[in-house]
Symmetry: C2
Subunit: 113 residues, 2 copies
């Protein structure tokens, strides 16, 4: 595992904002226009567009022009690096617990003999 993974840092940074997370959840339900997405946030269009542009830069969403409107859609596999990183931490932790278990078993067996 790379110790410094700038793409992963950017992904965590983008997900640290509740507005961006709520936009992502909305897009998991299906594609939406910028105006559709702005509605529930209560934010002005330029603010929402800045959020969307950050999300597109890290690959979390894709946007495409449909006539005069811009339609946004989720890129679900973009969350994979976050999931992989969490799984890696758990694997390191569990392998440590296994070693501790093995050590305790060994000590217990030795004390029996």
């Amino acid at each position: 595992m790379a110790k410094h993974d700038p793409a992963l840092s950017r992904l965590f940074h983008v997900l640290a904002d509740p507005t961006r997370r709520s936009i992502l959840t909305r897009l998991a339900e299906g594609p939406a226009t910028v105006t559709d997405l702005a509605g529930p946030t209560g934010l002005r269009l330029p603010t929402v567009m800045r959020h969307l542009s950050l999300m597109e830069a890290v690959g979390l969403i894709a946007t495409a022009k449909d006539g005069r409107v811009r339609v946004c859609s989720i890129v679900p596999e973009a969350l994979d690096p976050v999931r992989t990183w969490i799984d890696e931490q758990r694997a390191i932790w569990e392998s440590r617990l296994d070693r501790l278990d093995a050590f305790v078993m060994k000590v217990m067996k030795e004390s029996e003999t």
Copy 2:
């Protein structure tokens, strides 16, 4: 799911930093003192202590005094909210795909009759 979850935002923010992620990976292997943790980062102790204090504030690590040294350990379940959030996004996305599948099957069946 709460739309605004400040604890989750703080967790993502803390994980957005590569030094803090590398400290967490080190602690997954077992408890360590602040000096142990500072070594590989190449950072000064006060800087590392600021990182540790942020990580402790969101519950990712716990620290305890052992004589004159402070020992840090990981709190592995602290990553659960991040995992849960990612699982929720996938569930929404997959349920949408299932509905699309069902719709396509329905249209195909109707076109056969």
